[in-house]
Amino acid sequence: MDAILLQILNGLDKGSAYALIALGLTLIFGTLGVVNFAHGALFMIGAFCAVVLSRLLSFSKTVIDETRTDFLGNPLKVDLPYMHQWFGEAAGQTIIDWSVPLAILFSIPIMFAIGYAMERGLIRHFYKRPHADQILVTFGLAIVLQEIVKYFFGANPIQTPAPPAFTGSFDFGALVGLDPNTIIYPYWRLIYFSFAVVIISAVFAFLRFTTFGMVVRAGMADRETVGLLGIDIDKRFTLMFALAACVAGLAGVMYAPINAPNYHMGMDFLVLSFVVVVVGGMGSMAGAVLAGFLLGILESIASMSQVIDYLPGINQIVIYLVAIIILLTRPRGLMGRKGVMED
């Protein structure tokens, strides 16, 4: 029981990432009807926003410290971060340590701009082209984005730690009344999960309770009629694309402390996120979120040693296996609607 609970918790953070990426993918597909293979690259760019901000904040200048000397007796040169200089040592260090949460604010305008530019510059020209062309051009774009990041940041993963307040673990078992020391869970993963829940609820609330969201939902249902009513639906759909890019970017920012960002993390997640979207049902946002968490948890349960002893190698293939079974038994996915992507 403890072990299963632990695995469910372990699956939550990966499941959150799947759910966030899949939500963005579904949002883009539902509004623009475009299959975006570059969405994983947006996730990766988000993670690198965290890297960039933490580097920017720890920018330092070399000063000569007269009070300390090296072994020859010369004054020692030390790197003094600008943050320390401007805000004092303690406050400056706190700002540097909190670079990942701060990167949330930093990444929103960046991701929004990238998403907006992508839609206006490239995707817009592909509405009328077949889905295969959309897949291919965004696949090419993903390669390009990935290689540009690789050129500037190298091929190795870059460690981006969480703020020290959240680096440790806590005893989750004791909290819910189980034996202590059975379920030790890192703080940051719980934060990631809560963050994902907040973002997902925010997106749903935005679509459900605002006028803008209402127009977008109307446009998803019947684009032409909304256009005939004199509403510039294209403009709103562009904003939705930028919003989806932001969601992917934020998922990436917060994922940086869990998994050190490298240039191909986007592709790794993209393949699985597509499986998630298809399992959830193309075009259904609730389905995407549900399937994201479900597959994340399933993957983590399948990697328990008891399961592996019984079915060796199952942890590697469980997601694909489930996808195949679901697609063959429920062709529209878990919550798919009729008539989406069935040509």
């Binding site: 090419g140 390009v144 050129y151 060796p312 040509d343």
Partner: protein, 401 residues
């Protein structure tokens, strides 16, 4: 000739000439000259040209004719490779049984996968094939290690049984051969500073590719090929006319899987080792790139695309910063440095960037790939001769206010 019409015969002959004379055509620069590194005429690369050409031809039979975009074709290549290497380990180092068994095993595997995946179409089909390929990759990496050798892969060893070879009696280190002719045998011809390499393995692969290419022409021109095109154009209408399209798509899927298996078997015949990374989804993505780059649904396109990508992979990635600096040494230092920095983005380790950009440009502006580009180039000259430009009003400039 061979049941082909005049144009197709011409195309086949041109391709045959190009492949047979490849050692000359790909080595246009004399050895030792500064341009010698652009020579693609060394055996390893030439073999890759034709083998991936076969792979792409097969993929094109599925994607180009039926429009089903498979994102898991590398699985069949990998399965074919594993089958071939087991033949070499158990039976003989002669490549013929290895290649035959690789085609058969890949065909059977694609029959199973195709039977399941073809129940859905569109993006669902792509995801299903991707799922199967990723599963094969993950299993080859972990659980199936006794069969696949896991991460280290498989190589023929001296201790393998090799029943047929043992009957002849041999104690030599195992080398892949074609009835005694070793695949690695090369004959070099020095001519006024040019060095041309003729490799036995390349010529075997080239002949097989020509046969594969001939078969693909026949398939394209056959009633069967017509049926596949009908599926791509409008599957519903085909169903309404009372035709069951499933057997046709399944046949196309299995044929293209067998082509992939053939390519896998040949890869093993040329270089006797296999690893699971051959089945990773990036390998499946690569064959999609090749086919699109060359031209989907055209006969020669996939071969051109495969050649271009393999050439870039091998030649472009060799250009490093030092080399660039040497080339641009004649420029003033700052300008030279700037040029080197910019070009360095696109060459050496960054060749994928060039590939990605090229691919995007092709998809955006030339959906028919290189073949369409070539047609347009020739078309410009021809159209001008045929008809005088229609009387269009001269472009009017808006008057300045």
């Amino acid at each position: 000739m061979f049941g082909l019409n005049r144009n197709d015969t011409l195309l086949l002959i041109v391709v045959a000439l190009l492949t047979m004379l490849a050692p000359f055509l790909l080595n246009p620069f004399p050895e030792g000259s500064s341009l010698a590194q652009f020579n693609g005429g060394y055996p390893d690369l030439m073999q890759r040209f034709v083998i991936f050409g076969i792979f792409a031809i097969g993929f094109n039979i599925l994607f180009g004719l039926t429009g089903y975009l498979s994102f898991g074709h590398a699985a069949f290549l990998g399965v074919g490779s594993y089958a071939a290497i087991w033949m070499m380990k158990l039976l003989t180092m002669n490549v013929v049984p290895a290649i035959i068994i690789s085609v058969i095993v890949a065909g059977l595997f694609s029959l199973v996968v195709g039977y399941i995946c073809l129940r859905r179409s569109g993006i669902y089909f792509s995801i299903l094939t991707l799922a199967f390929a990723q599963m094969s990759y993950a299993l080859a990496y972990s659980v199936l290690t006794p069969i696949t050798g896991g991460e280290t892969g498989l190589q023929p060893k001296l201790s393998d049984p090799r029943i047929l070879d043992a009957a002849i009696g041999s104690g030599v280190t195992p080398r892949a051969n074609f009835f005694g002719i070793e695949m690695g045998t090369s004959w070099q011809w020095d001519w006024n500073g040019w060095v041309f390499t003729f490799n036995a393995g390349y010529y075997l692969a080239a002949v097989i590719m020509l046969v594969a290419f001939y078969l693909s022409i026949r398939i394209f021109r056959s009633p069967f090929g017509m049926m596949l095109r009908a599926i791509k154009t409008n599957q519903n209408r085909l169903n309404y006319t009372g035709v069951n399209s499933k057997p046709y798509t399944l046949a196309a899927f299995v044929i293209s899987g067998m082509y992939a298996g053939l390519a896998g078997g040949l890869l093993v015949a040329m270089d006797t080792q296999v690893g699971p990374e051959r089945m990773f989804w990036t390998a499946s993505g690569e064959v999609v790139l090749m086919t699109i780059l060359g031209g989907v649904g055209t006969l020669i396109g996939p071969v051109l695309g495969a050649g271009l990508i393999k050439y870039m992979e091998n030649i472009l990635s060799k250009i490093n910063e030092g080399l660039l600096q040497k080339w641009f040494a004649f420029m003033p230092e700052t300008a030279g440095d700037a040029v080197v920095t910019v070009l360095g983005l696109f060459t050496g380790k960054g060749w994928h960037l060039t590939l990605g950009l090229l691919f995007m440009i092709v998809v955006i502006f030339l959906p028919g790939g290189l073949v369409e580009g070539g047609k347009r180039l020739f078309g410009i000259g021809r159209r001008k001769k045929k008809a005088p430009p229609a009387a269009s009003p001269p472009p009017t400039t808006t008057p300045a206010e």
